[in-house]
Symmetry: C2
Subunit: 208 residues, 2 copies
Amino acid sequence: MSRMNIEERRAALVDAALRVIARDGVAAASTRAIAAEAGMPLASFHYAFESRDALLRAAVVKVTDIDYGHAEAGFHSIITDPALFSEVSLEELIRLTFDAYLESLVNDPGREQAMLELSLSSMRNPSLEHLPAEQYATYYQSALRVMAEWEEVAGITWSMPTTQIAQAVVIVLDGITTNWLATRDTESVRATLPGFAAMFAAIADTNT
Amino acid sequence: MSRMNIEERRAALVDAALRVIARDGVAAASTRAIAAEAGMPLASFHYAFESRDALLRAAVVKVTDIDYGHAEAGFHSIITDPALFSEVSLEELIRLTFDAYLESLVNDPGREQAMLELSLSSMRNPSLEHLPAEQYATYYQSALRVMAEWEEVAGITWSMPTTQIAQAVVIVLDGITTNWLATRDTESVRATLPGFAAMFAAIADTNT
DNA sequence: AACGAAGTTGGTCGATCGTCCAACTTTGCA
DNA sequence: TGCAAAGTTGGACGATCGACCAACTTCGTT
């Protein structure tokens, strides 16, 4: 393995770990499997990280930052695509956003499954148990940013505390995730989206 | 260990496995840990089950049957409690049902966490990957039964296909589960319930 | 009482796990 | 050029895992 400083090696190992977890699950993400995925000898693992837990901690932190970034990116692709977004109603705009998230889930199920597995395994580990709450705090922030864009694009204001709405949005997206991962029935899940979109649209006031 | 036939021993091992999984997680549910929890020597394990996967399969089947039974039982305790249920609106009835589910989740987090871990680990195992879909089919049936009681008690009919509504109900309960497990913020999650209750109440028609 | 079937279990196998060490190579500075 | 620091790595450690076997005990039948 060519020479690299610790930061580079740590980053390479985290990326490798996320690939292994997305493909084979947390249980299969042994130090040997991660090192092999990164193309490193096993001994390099414990030169870069003190323990497997330390790497998992770094993996959760990294993945939290990039995860809902996908959902946000999907949203931006909607409001900048004239074919999709041309003076649609708020309700339709919300539905399109949820649909974009569902599409990203279907296109890369391993990523969201990895998120869930990392969260659950973190809850079982005393040294990692505080991470899921931070993870969800990041989700709420993402939801708030998307809601702010809904506000701006559709010209509305929310008639309830936005943090509460953001949490409800995350709950719905989370439920959709677990539901689809278990059933793999895309059309069935998609059929529930208009109802949720109508719910959130109903708690918005049109600006005068 | 006293003498018992295979069916008894299998049942005892499944119960022990569910206790271990709820307490320590799927990863900690080794054949040795399960046998110890059941008070059996390790060798008894492979006399009753061909493999660890075979026991996990039996555990998922059993837990699916009893899991949403708790939610249903919570609902029944509401509509038979005069103090709670006295001519409340449909919306309030739905909110109380969701609240009862949240209470059951808070009172025994291990059970729902075990459900999630079992589902996720099943998805990674080719011999178990069909189980999560069956698990959710059972959830939908439970939701349909609760919806039927909402209908009867509140005197309404649904203005959308009931199977679709049932799936949305399961999505919301699932999202609530993962959200609370990660944040442990009961009041914050509870605050989202009225919104979801209003959503489902809005797709009901009052009987003339 | 005899005997095959059913149930029980201590001990062990090979595989895999996280972790660590000592030997080695390369780098940057004096 | 010399040498300490930083980076690299083959190999091994004790522990734990799922699985299995052969010896043992108990049961039901005749």
